[in-house]
């Protein structure tokens, strides 16, 4: 087939295309993944009993804001990397800033604490399970991210896969925070970040395999 024949073939009988449809589908995937992750948290682990009382604790809101800000940055990163020709730009800073802020908060908390209390601030009660639970709860979001990206055309597959995993991990951490009893900044700065990095690493590995087009 000559190239002008192909051009004619592609152009003949072409129909209008809705360029807003991909973003609408992406939003639906995000909402569905978030809903399932939340149900998974409440059904499997249960919401924490002190949730109502926590609403007046500033550190509870710092934790929610931390996860939400990272989740939002991750979702924007996916939306950009899923289409050809978009750059990450300021999104890199938006991913780094909450992490740096939480690390600074953690350093301040550790410096202010008595030396014998420091390991308690770092390990809390649930350090051994926290990252794996976050990774597990983010699974439905991970599937949603990859399904959405497969319907588009990412051109940097490893980076797009990592962004998908990171978005899933940080929104998953937000869902998990409805169960998690930990509120110490050093705990969040380590184990939450680690929990987000597990799906990020899986995504970076899976991207080149699953996102090719």
């Amino acid at each position: 087939m000559r190239t002008d024949e192909l051009v004619s073939l592609l152009a003949t009988g072409t129909e209008a295309v809705d360029t807003r449809l991909p973003m609408r589908r992406y939003l639906i995937a995000v909402l569905a993944g978030t809903a399932i992750a939340t149900l998974l948290t409440s059904g499997w682990l249960g919401l924490r009993p002190t949730l109502a009382r926590d609403l007046s604790v500033p550190m509870f809101w710092a934790k929610e804001a931390f996860c939400a800000a990272l989740g939002a940055a991750g979702l924007v990163a996916v939306a950009r990397l899923a289409r050809p020709g978009f750059r990450l730009g300021w999104v890199r800073a938006a991913v780094a800033a909450p992490v740096v802020a939480m690390w600074l908060l953690a350093a301040a908390a550790l410096l202010a604490a008595d030396p014998q209390n420091r390991s308690e601030l770092i390990l809390g009660q649930t350090a051994a399970v926290c990252p794996f639970r976050i990774a597990l709860i983010s699974t439905p979001l991970f599937v949603a991210m990859f399904a959405a990206m497969r319907g588009l055309a990412p051109t940097r597959l490893r980076l797009a896969g990592a962004a998908g995993g990171f978005a899933a991990g940080s929104v998953g951490a937000l869902a998990y925070s409805l169960h998690c009893p930990e509120l110490a900044a050093p705990f969040l700065a380590i184990w939450y970040v680690l929990g987000m990095l597990i799906p990020t690493a899986v995504g970076a590995w899976a991207g080149p395999h699953l996102l090719r087009w």
Binding site: M1, R2, T3, D4, L6, V7, S8, L9, L10, A11, T12, G13, T14, E15, A16, V17, D18, T19, L21, P22, A82, R83, P84, G85, F86, R87, L152, A153, T155, R212, W213
Partner: protein
């Protein structure tokens, strides 16, 4: 200049104007050819195949174009992706005589309308598609029949005809991707 004109043609095409879309693809193929001839100077036989693969990719991914986005950035990212993919398949990256960077390149600066023969025969690949994809493509896209006429001829429903064209062109791109 090329940017604005191509953008208008593509937006027309996305709105359903097939003659604007035809002009868009025709101009784009000349730009892609010049771009790839320069990048694939040591693999001249690959150029026309890759032009065709890219046209098919641009068509299949046209829903990912953001109307506010520079067309150069959108096309360049796809061209770069397919070019790197080709070179990886051949593991002959060292043959690339002009480095590809992340920056948008001079994609629209040059144009080459002299098509060489493609080695890959898309018509042959098309023949390998299942009937429910091949028949709608042949009737609608080659013979130029409408959806309703194609539906009547094939006994398929109008929505099955549209799905068949859509999936068939995607399957064609997948066959190209997996053949080497």
């Amino acid at each position: 200049m090329g940017e604005e004109r191509l953008r208008c043609l593509l937006l027309g095409g996305l709105a359903g104007d097939s003659s604007a879309y035809h002009a868009f693809l025709k101009e784009l193929s000349a730009h892609l050819r010049a771009f790839l001839r320069k990048r694939l100077a040591s693999l001249p036989d690959e150029v026309e195949d890759l032009v065709q693969e890219l046209l098919l990719a641009v068509h299949n991914q046209r829903h990912t174009y953001d109307p506010g986005q520079p067309i150069t950035a959108w096309v360049y990212a796809m061209a770069r992706y397919k070019l790197v993919d080709l070179l990886r398949r051949r593991s002959r990256k060292e043959l690339l005589n002009d480095p590809l960077d992340e920056e948008d390149d001079d994609l629209l600066m040059s144009s080459d309308s002299e098509a060489a023969e493609a080695r890959r025969d898309l018509a042959k690949l098309l023949a390998g598609l299942p009937h429910r994809q091949r028949a709608p493509i042949i009737h609608m896209k080659i013979e130029g029949l409408s959806v309703a006429e194609t539906a009547r001829l094939t006994g398929m429903s109008p929505s099955a005809v549209k799905v068949g064209v859509h999936r068939g062109l995607k399957a064609l791109a997948a066959k190209i991707r997996n053949e080497s």
